[in-house]
């Protein structure tokens, strides 16, 4: 049976939207209200980086036809962009402290990777769950007897 097209919704992907909501909620509500902690203030944005911006980048690549499919992000895409963000934020920008006001932090790199891998796992598992539901509904429609109780 041919697999259904894995339609990734890019910026409308639920995980991407959730990451945006979490970022905005933390930035404009939780942190100012004092309902945050040291870890969240330091690393939450880094963990949300890839789940939030990878779909945006992939959408741009899709529009330019560099990306040739609409499936969920592959592991290679996650790791490639993890490397890009790590190099830009931890190697390039800290060399210009008068402009970018940022310090290199190795734990930021870990946070980017953790967010990226968690997001990749979610995207892959989410697709598998939809595929199972599609398979069950398709079989049920074509062979109702297969679901009759014995």
């Amino acid at each position: 049976m041919q697999q259904p097209t894995r339609q990734f919704r890019y910026v409308l992907d639920p995980l991407c939207l959730t990451a945006a909501v979490v970022y905005l909620a933390h930035r404009w509500w939780l942190a100012p209200a004092g309902w945050s902690n040291e870890w969240a203030r330091a690393y939450l944005n880094d963990v949300l980086c890839l789940p939030l911006f990878l779909p945006v980048i992939l959408l741009l690549l899709r529009w330019t036809r560099v990306r040739k499919h609409d499936g969920p992000p592959t592991l290679w895409e996650v790791l490639h962009h993890w490397l890009i963000f790590a190099v830009v934020y931890e190697l390039v920008l800290p060399r210009f402290p008068s402009v970018w006001h940022t310090n290199a932090d190795a734990w930021d790199v870990v946070a980017y990777l953790a967010g990226g891998l968690l997001a990749w796992t979610w995207w892959q598992c989410g697709w598998r769950a939809r595929w199972r539901r599609h398979t069950i509904s398709t079989v049920a429609a074509s062979e109702p007897s297969a679901f009759r109780s014995v």
């Binding site: 041919q2 697999q3 933390h26 930035r27 942190a31 203030r41 944005n45 980086c49 911006f53 945006v56 980048i57 741009l60 690549l61 330019t64 560099v66 040739k68 499919h69 490639h80 962009h81 890009i84 963000f85 830009v88 934020y89 920008l93 402009v99 970018w100 006001h101 940022t102």
Partner: protein, 75 residues
């Protein structure tokens, strides 16, 4: 000669009506330009895509960094 889909790199051995069995991309068995002979893109395309992806990703990263410069990110 083995043929592979130019879109999903699947083998075209099981193609039906000259369409890829996996992604339904059409190809012409008589026209070598419509399929690949290896299950991956040419090296030139790989390198080009890698460079373009890196540039686009870095541009987005810099845009986000600009957002942080303004102090609006809270980071």
């Amino acid at each position: 000669m083995k043929r592979y889909c130019k879109r999903c790199y699947a083998s075209l051995a099981n193609a039906v009506n000259e369409r890829c069995a996996k992604c339904s991309r059409a190809f012409d068995a008589e026209d070598a330009k419509t399929y690949l002979t290896r299950p991956f893109p040419p090296l030139r395309e790989i390198v080009t895509n890698f460079v373009v992806i890196t540039i686009v990703g870095a541009m987005v990263a810099f845009v986000v960094a600009l957002h942080q410069i303004t102090g609006a990110s809270g980071h």
